[in-house]
Point group: C3
Chain length 209, copies 3
């Protein structure tokens, strides 16, 4: 990769963001597997916790790189915002899984599985958008991915609101209601943070393309 | 408007912020009407959802304008922060109304109506403060509006805390308790976001007057 | 203090941040005393509310100083972020105490006391880190404090998750469960905001040492 040696610092940032986006896709897939299989819950959640730590490390590497780099490929505050939003995506996926275990949930709901499906889709789209970060950004292509992320966040929001309404309409026991309300909230927050990622990427595309 | 043609970009930002503040006042009035009338709930919430979309469009126009404008009337990060805080005000008003519908609330509480009254007052004050944004800001006038917004946020906070204490002190059924706790939280968050708007405006006034 | 007269503005910022950190330690100690004594609750919470107002004043002084100072000892956005994060630490401690009173909690739980202990430790460590802010920052020393703050935040997070799991596993009445879930959340948020403080300080140390 000849560009890499000419622009070592730029290459490093792009590479770390791609690692971070890949990690978000990986942890989303582990969440989905947990929800559909619902066996060996503790082992599966331990794997998810490991991916969350991996995400922390990548975020920390980006911060360290940023503090030591004078000329950055795009604005410092965009780099920080992007790194933190990607990290939040991973943190909320971990929290959703962790609370399902902590609360000894008996069986995932259909709505939780629907949300996990959307989370896979949205993290894959986010990965494509992050992959567009390079010296010359194709603005049209980047905006297409961002629009798609926004669309999926709306889908997740509608599932979330339906899930809550159903929870309260059914004769569910109250502690179950409280537990699922919280788990759904973590899952919906995942897609909000993906939207934050898209907002930063859209801004970067408009400024640098 | 001769200034407008001489300073087209500045004029455009001030105009979009005024539209955004007007939209916050409009949606606040629709929330208050919903809470006092409590009829045709679905239709009323649909109107509120439309205003929320209108707000998204204004925010998007500000972002697009910002990315295409080289010299802005005040700091780029203040423009972004102001646009997002105004958008959050509108989003939380929509969420409060939407969850009252989703949760099939039987009757709004007195405390919810009190909060809706404060939300009208605070959005009107916020509109006055946003209206002070212009080439030469009257610092004293701007600070007066900001102090008033902070005072109203404190009033809302006290109503919120009293409402929660009463909810738990009364023999209310638990699902009702959980629903109202959430709705009150959205309403109180509206005033927190108005305070964020005031913080940005205060900073702008101190820097540019 | 000869430096102080030569660099009056720098000295002013460092002094205000030290006051803010000291105030966080003071309010943390009042929270811990409240939880261990659990007598004269209203009087004790009134003292905590006074410290919260004191924190607001310090934050406001930092903002005013910032808007009137042209050359700041470190980046304006870091000063703002640091002031707000320190203020949030104090606000969440106040909210935890206030809701214990409002919800007429009968007796603090062991887990709440454990969290209060961690909150003392983490605010003391944060105070040491803030004390490192000066013209020439000892980067190694600053990072040591930040690592320690992160470690304590992880401890608080584990206590929080255990506390919630126990709450749902026990046959606790549901309103008690909801109240404690909320109080624990405020307490855990205190340590998250301390981590925000550490993040800013780490960035400042890497940039200016």
């Amino acid at each position: 990769m000849p560009n890499f040696s000419l622009l070592p610092k730029e290459g490093k940032f792009f590479q770390l963001f791609e690692e971070s986006a890949q990690n978000a896709v990986d942890i989303a897939q582990k969440l989905r597997e947990l929800l559909y299989a619902w066996d060996n819950v503790e082992d599966r959640v331990a794997v998810i916790a490991d991916l969350e730590h991996k995400g922390d490390n990548i975020t920390h590497q980006i911060a360290t790189e940023l503090h030591r780099t004078f000329v950055t490929p795009f604005d410092r505050e965009d780099i920080t915002a992007l790194a933190h939003s990607l990290d939040d995506v991973v943190d909320f996926i971990h929290s959703a899984a962790d609370f399902m275990m902590l609360y000894r949930v008996e069986q995932p709901t259909m709505r939780a599985r629907e949300l996990a499906d959307v989370i896979i889709e949205i993290t894959l789209e986010m990965q494509k958008a992050v992959g567009q970060l390079k010296k010359h950004i194709d603005q049209r292509q980047m905006l297409k991915h961002c629009v798609e992320i926004n669309r999926m966040e709306n889908v997740a929001d509608r599932i979330f609101r339906s899930a809550l309404a159903e929870l309260f309409a059914s004769s569910t026991e109250v502690p179950i209601l409280i537990k699922w309300r919280e788990i759904y909230e973590y899952m919906e927050n995942v897609t909000d943070r993906c939207e934050d990622v898209a907002d930063v990427l859209e801004g970067v595309a408009l400024k640098y393309s």
